[in-house]
């Protein structure tokens, strides 16, 4: 019996390619809702921190065409994923410039916009705080006096009476006793501003609340099931009466995970029962009023002994969580249990805090805390290597985590090969070779950085799948995870085909849209978890269907099921060498001898997966048996040059090597590696700019630039390492987020190589770099 895979491990064509290149694929905004469709617009707070004393919508409601105005009085019950610290519309307080205060429903967008100007709100201004470190100090203005009364999951630890919504503590060994043993110690502070996901498709939701209280929400969503759960709880809708329909998403990156405007739109639809209401965020609103990546102030003290062994690490992370930390608490937690980065160190003291600030809500974004903490970590590792005179690559290989290590939380490291990733990245970039600049007035350098990241989730997020056969032996595969561009539907089809023993071409992914009424449950499309978790569910469903088929044929042939297999859509017996095509029998079954009765029937397989082995951690030490399911690790090397006349950085080449366990579709892994490298590069130049009152200033794609076709490096070399994980389908684990985690510090390390200058604070703007060169006397 051969175990070689037929479909898994092959770079088959994307299952969604044809509909995407022809423009026929429908996103939420492309769905028809008929002429009765109403339009919603949102009123945003002009103040960073204020009490809402009075809200009067009388004049707005008097405007012809205005159907309803809703606000905090309509949404008394809290909402939130990990910490229920907000209501759908704010009741008595706004906490950032841009926060949604009220919603208008009207017959046209123009009328709704006019009505916004007619809503009168009396505010009483309060002092605001924007910097997460300052916000965590005892004298900071308090954003949530009710913290402590909010419902919270049992693995998040808010500190009532402060702005700290989560404080994760990691204690291992004894750092104080270890400092004297260190030959070199670096102590420094690093920071990152808020950045935006900038999906090309803005946030959009359409809702209809029928007169019989059946509710439908169409949303550009990474999380249709989580949104159903959160909205159902907050608005007292039975889960079975709330239907979330989510077609393909035009880019997510975490920004469409959890909840943002969707609940607001449902409340607006409730006010005009029977008629659908559509809200599409403008690009300006995307920047001002949707979720962002949290800011971070990171304070590090790291020491090594004379042989280059990491000896002690003390880190303090202050995440700027924004006005609500309902999702963001878990980012600080993830940064806490992974606080060392991919390193083995005997003495660790880590404190990771999520802190309320008067800024946009900090929520999930590709990397979920890891790009933030690696920014400082990976620069300090370079500096420590330099101080003790060790090569930067050798230093990392000496200290990085290996399979079987007892890592910082006390769990055993599942199979990884980070050393191989480092070697591939170093080799690909030509480590140790100094390259000549491509022209005059340019300085060139190389840098490397490594990373780790575990799926950051509750301990028990579930996946499920259903497989249903058709007469011609094609199979419909139903899942509830979302296609954001990462290629998950293609990967699921490959896993299903491989496990069933039928051709890839026979699979029909029945997934567009994901519909909570018909699709099997999936927690959320986040945490790079689908290939692994949903893949396990699809594999289980395929095994279930396969067993039912083989059981039928075994009875028909009167053979032992153990001797049977399915190959290319045909059941074969290794014992009798008989063959039975799947066609027809997967629906009609097979007759007994002389047609005295029948076996089998329509084949439907179902499967589920939920990790059952993750444990909570000790609240005082962060120690426990198994903090996470597993880690994905990787290395990135960058070759770049700096224009000494302008300070502009041009990235020439990026080499990325990641251990994905098993590449179900190698070319799709490479597309993640390439796209992620450019996303990571772009992130190093991005950042929210605020005025002193907390208003974001660069709220357009002209002022907030993302990488264009001219900025993309000439060459991105992807390398795939495969150390199979025990708990993944065919050994696979996720890689979608990891590919951008350490790009910014790899670039900073390359800039240091080129200029001899270190930058502790993102973004790496040309102005900042030019002024630093000026100060150093390079220009």
């Amino acid at each position: 019996m051969t175990t070689e895979c037929v479909t898994v491990g092959k770079s088959v064509t994307r299952i969604d390619a044809a509909e995407k290149v022809t423009g026929s694929v429908q996103y939420v905004d492309d769905l028809p809702f008929g002429p009765s469709l109403l339009y919603g617009k949102l009123l945003h707070s002009p103040h960073a921190h204020a009490l809402i004393k009075h809200l009067d919508a009388t004049k707005a409601l008097a405007l012809p065409g205005v159907k309803a105005v809703v606000s905090g009085k309509d949404t008394p019950k809290p909402i939130g994923l990990y910490l229920k610290d907000r209501t759908i519309f704010p009741i008595d307080r706004v906490r950032y410039v841009g926060e949604v205060v009220a919603g208008v429903v009207a017959t046209s967008e123009e009328i709704a916009e006019k009505a916004l100007e007619l809503i009168e709100v009396d505010y009483e201004l309060l002092p605001a705080v924007f910097d997460p470190y300052l916000a965590a100090q005892p004298d900071a203005p308090l954003l949530h006096p009710d913290l402590g009364k909010y419902e919270v999951v049992n693995f998040v630890f808010p500190e009532p009476g402060t702005n700290v919504s989560e404080h994760f503590k990691l204690r291992k060994g004894d750092v104080d006793a270890a400092w004297p043993k260190c030959t070199a110690i670096i102590e420094d502070t690093f920071s990152l501003p808020q950045i935006q996901h900038v999906p090309i498709e803005p946030h959009i939701a359409v809702a209809r609340w029928d007169k019989d209280n059946q509710v439908t929400l169409w949303a550009a969503s990474q999380s249709p099931f989580a949104q159903r759960d959160l909205i159902a709880q907050s608005l007292d809708i039975p889960h079975g009466d709330l239907r979330v329909i989510a077609p393909y998403v035009g880019g997510g990156f975490g920004g469409k995970a959890g909840i943002s405007i969707e609940a607001n739109v449902v409340v607006m639809a409730r006010a005009v029962k029977g008629t659908p209401v559509k809200v599409r965020m403008t690009r300006e609103e995307e920047f001002l009023s949707t979720n962002v990546r949290q800011s971070l102030v990171g304070k590090y003290k790291i020491g090594v002994d004379g042989e280059g062994n990491l000896t002690a690490m003390q880190v303090e992370y202050y995440f700027g969580g924004g006005s609500s930390n309902e999702y963001g608490t878990n980012i600080a937690r993830a940064a806490g249990y992974s606080c060392t980065g991919p390193y083995d160190c005997p003495n660790v003291k880590g404190d990771s805090r999520c802190v309320y600030t008067n800024t946009q809500i900090g929520s999930a974004m590709r990397g979920f805390g890891m790009p933030e903490i690696h920014w400082g970590l990976e620069q300090i590792m370079d500096r420590l290597a330099d101080q003790i005179g060790m090569d930067r690559v050798e230093f990392r290989k000496r200290n990085c985590v290996r399979t079987g290590d007892t890592i910082v939380t006390g769990m055993k490291m599942p199979a990884i090969d980070l050393i191989k990733c480092i070697d591939l990245a170093a080799k690909g970039i030509g480590w140790g070779k100094k390259e000549a600049p491509t022209g005059p007035n340019k300085l060139r350098g190389k840098g490397i950085a490594i990373m780790w990241k575990a799926p950051a989730m509750p301990p028990n997020p579930g996946s499920s799948a259903i497989i249903r056969f058709n007469e011609d032996a094609t199979a419909n595969v139903f899942v509830g995870g979302q296609e954001l561009g990462q290629g998950t539907f293609t990967v699921m089809a490959q896993i299903a085909a491989e496990t069933l023993g039928i051709p890839y071409e026979s699979i029909r992914m029945t997934v567009n849209p994901i519909d909570t009424r018909y699709s099997p449950y999936e927690w959320q499309t986040v945490a790079s978890r689908l290939t692994w978790s949903m893949g396990n569910a699809v594999k289980a469903a395929a095994e279930d269907a396969r067993f039912k088929i083989l059981d039928t044929v075994a009875k028909y042939w009167k053979e032992d099921i153990k001797d049977l297999d399915i190959k290319n859509g045909v059941v074969v017996s290794y014992k009798s060498e008989r063959e039975q095509p799947l066609k027809k029998m997967v629906v009609y079954g097979l007759p007994n001898e002389n047609y005295e009765g029948w076996q089998g029937g329509p084949i439907v397989g179902s499967g589920k997966f939920m990790p059952t082995y993750v444990t909570n951690l000790d609240p005082d030490t962060g120690q426990g048996t198994r903090a996470v399911v597993h880690y994905t690790v990787g290395a990135q090397a960058v070759d770049l040059e700096v224009d000494t006349e302008t300070g502009i950085v041009e990235v020439l080449k990026i080499v990325s090597a990641y251990d994905v366990g098993k590449a179900i579709n190698p070319d799709l892994v490479l597309t993640q590696i390439e796209g992620g490298a450019v996303h990571g590069m772009s992130s190093a130049f991005e950042g929210y700019i605020y005025d002193e009152k907390g208003k974001m200033l660069n709220h357009s794609l002209v002022d907030y630039k993302i990488a264009t076709s001219m900025d993309a490096p000439r060459k991105i070399q992807g390398e795939i390492v495969e150390s199979a994980v025990e708990d993944g389908p065919y050994g696979a684990r996720g890689v979608g987020e990891h590919v951008m985690v350490q790009t910014a510090p790899a670039m900073a390390n390359a800039i240091a190589d080129a200029l001899g200058i270190r930058f502790n604070h993102l973004p790496l703007s040309a102005e900042k770099i030019y002024l630093a060169m000026l100060e150093k006397g390079i220009v």
Partner: protein, 155 residues
């Protein structure tokens, strides 16, 4: 105020009543049901709504519907009208130059319009031609490669 305009869309003549301030993008999407051109910024900053106007790529969000009077518009829906994928579409599929797909229609129309003017571009020229079409997923390299590959087919 409503204006009656007559123009060609994907080789067919259409007459529409449009409001003065409505864009070509709104007319295409809401009145003609051609939703391939996407709304990404409504400010000419992202390129997701790129269509061809007399063969020239334009941001349909920056063209008023009334300005289309007498002109010929081509959208993504026309690119494989023959039933077979256009060489650009084939190259995008072959090279996995698509992820979420939201920028893809605009990217393809920009590339088509550009290749009509410059059938043998260099890599640098393609990069420059696509600079107004933002993509957050792919990192552009496969898109650039696909356009260069398709250029050989089209030329």
């Amino acid at each position: 105020m409503l204006h009656e305009i007559t123009f060609k869309v994907n080789d067919e003549t259409v007459t529409l009543a449009v409001k003065s301030h409505h864009t070509l993008l709104k007319a295409l999407r809401e009145q003609l049901g051609l939703t391939g051109a996407k709304i990404g910024c409504e400010n000419g900053e992202c390129g997701a709504c790129t269509v061809l106007m007399d063969g020239e790529p334009v941001n349909a969000c920056l063209v008023l519907a009334v300005e289309a009077e007498g002109h010929s518009i081509e959208t993504i829906e026309n690119l494989n009208k023959s039933g077979e994928l256009h060489p650009l579409q084939k190259a995008f599929v072959k090279n996995n130059a698509i992820q979420c797909g939201f920028c893809t229609p605009g990217m393809l129309m920009m590339a088509k319009g550009y290749l009509a003017k410059n059938p043998n571009p260099t890599e640098d020229e393609v990069r420059e031609a696509l600079v107004g079409n933002l993509c957050r997923c792919t990192g552009y390299i496969r898109i650039i490669e696909s356009v260069l590959e398709a250029a050989k087919e089209v030329a």
